[in-house]
Symmetry: C2
DNA sequence: GACGAATTAGACAAGACTGTCTAAATTTGT
DNA sequence: ACAAATTTAGACAGTCTTGTCTAATTCGTC
């Protein structure tokens, strides 16, 4: 708004810090108590600010909620794309590398604080804010799934996997890798590290039993024929 | 309470019907609005009873909530075990039969009204009522998973599948079969029938690529045609 | 038709929460 | 150190909700 001197940070420095603190606390309280049960006074107390400051920053409860979801979606996307960047394009040990990727995806994106919060808000309030979560769907899954599928397609093109539909394979990969964590996710808990590794290991092994190439060298000509289909 | 004449139905006939109606409406409202946001007057209106009747039947809001979860858990269990009873123990066409089972499981248990409600209540309130949902965990997954795993074990013993750990295989089966429905589930929506069938078909095909026996199974030609592509 | 139990509508007190307002205190940039 | 902007604590009105109470009404059964 005010931009007479410093083009870097128009508002005072503590301002943005407080905004962050508010959104963080709000995310936690909205998740714990639900939108209706969330108490602005409690959010203020957890954020270490006064209630009035929350109203100064965000207007009202509903706008605060929207800000929380937007923030979480963006932060999660950053995490997911950072993790996708570690996808093993030229694996030395396909099984081990895919397990590693699956574990990173779980730990950094799905079981992270932001990931858990976003997931729960989607589950609990998704039906009440159709347009907001339609936006999430575009920005989130709409962008990340194609990115993951593209990596699997590349792996297939490189002769490491025999998959027909990379989109299906990508979703099945995640389904397998999280197969043993569903109950924990449902109750909102965080699985222990060894559970994540266990589930990922079992999932990747099954995935490779279905899509892995026996001990093939790179038979690119057959691959290209498949990739086009 | 009063049992002077008829040993069959002590309270009048309409009594139990109202109780049912209350629990049904309460389930819907608790799901839509969350526990804190659920309004007793609204539940009463949807159930077509007066607010006082709800208090007569259930005491207070929290007891009503517990009654809802117990009822839903029990009803869902009945549905799940009925569906498990249709598991193909001696399949003519393994792929088609497993797809059929997966679709039934989805339609009758996971996407049913009760299934959706119970899942959402677990997701939204699971952390607030640890002991209640610990009970659910025992009565629900604790009983149904072993039953499903036992069926897969039998299929393996019969020579139809090559699986090492039936528990892992059972969970992976469901993970695969629902792989393409996750986003819809997350937002609380119901997938269309054709989406369920599509996801089940893709899931079962991958499952059989991993665990199916090449030779001994009946529909080998269909397998190889599809899998070999 | 009559009796007893269940149900209903509505009023009600007590408490909780949102969002606004004000005046004082604190922080920030210069 | 000064001036502007921000933050704070607290009071406040208005609204909503739960759970209770009462008196009238309806329902099921004999």
């Amino acid at each position: 708004m005010k931009l007479h001197v410093s083009p870097d940070t128009f508002p005072p420095r503590g301002h943005e810090a407080k905004r962050l603190s508010i959104v963080d606390s709000a995310a936690a309280v909205f998740c714990r108590e639900g939108f209706a049960g969330a108490n602005i006074d409690l959010i203020a107390a957890e954020a270490g600010v006064s209630r009035q400051t929350i109203y100064n920053h965000h207007g009202d409860k509903e706008k605060l909620f929207v800000a929380v979801v937007r923030d979480l979606t963006e932060r999660c996307n950053v995490g997911i794309f950072a993790t996708i960047a570690t996808f093993p394009d030229q694996p030395k040990d396909l099984e081990a590398d895919l397990i590693g990727f699956a574990v990173r995806l779980n730990q950094n994106c799905i079981c992270s604080r932001d990931g858990k919060f976003l997931r729960k808000l989607i589950q609990t309030e998704g039906e009440r804010y159709p347009e907001l979560f339609a936006e999430w769907r575009e920005q989130g899954p709409g962008r990340t799934w194609p990115a993951i599928a593209a990596r699997f397609a590349r792996l297939a093109y490189g002769g490491y996997l025999a998959i027909e539909d990379p989109d299906v394979a990508a979703r099945q990969f995640l389904g397998l890798v999280n197969a043993e964590l569903q109950t924990t996710f449902m109750l909102g808990g965080s699985p222990r590290e060894d559970e994540v590794v266990q589930s990922a290991t079992n999932g990747v092994r099954t995935f490779l039993r279905a899509f892995g190439k026996r001990r093939s060298a790179v038979s690119v000509e057959k691959q290209t024929a498949l990739a086009g289909a």
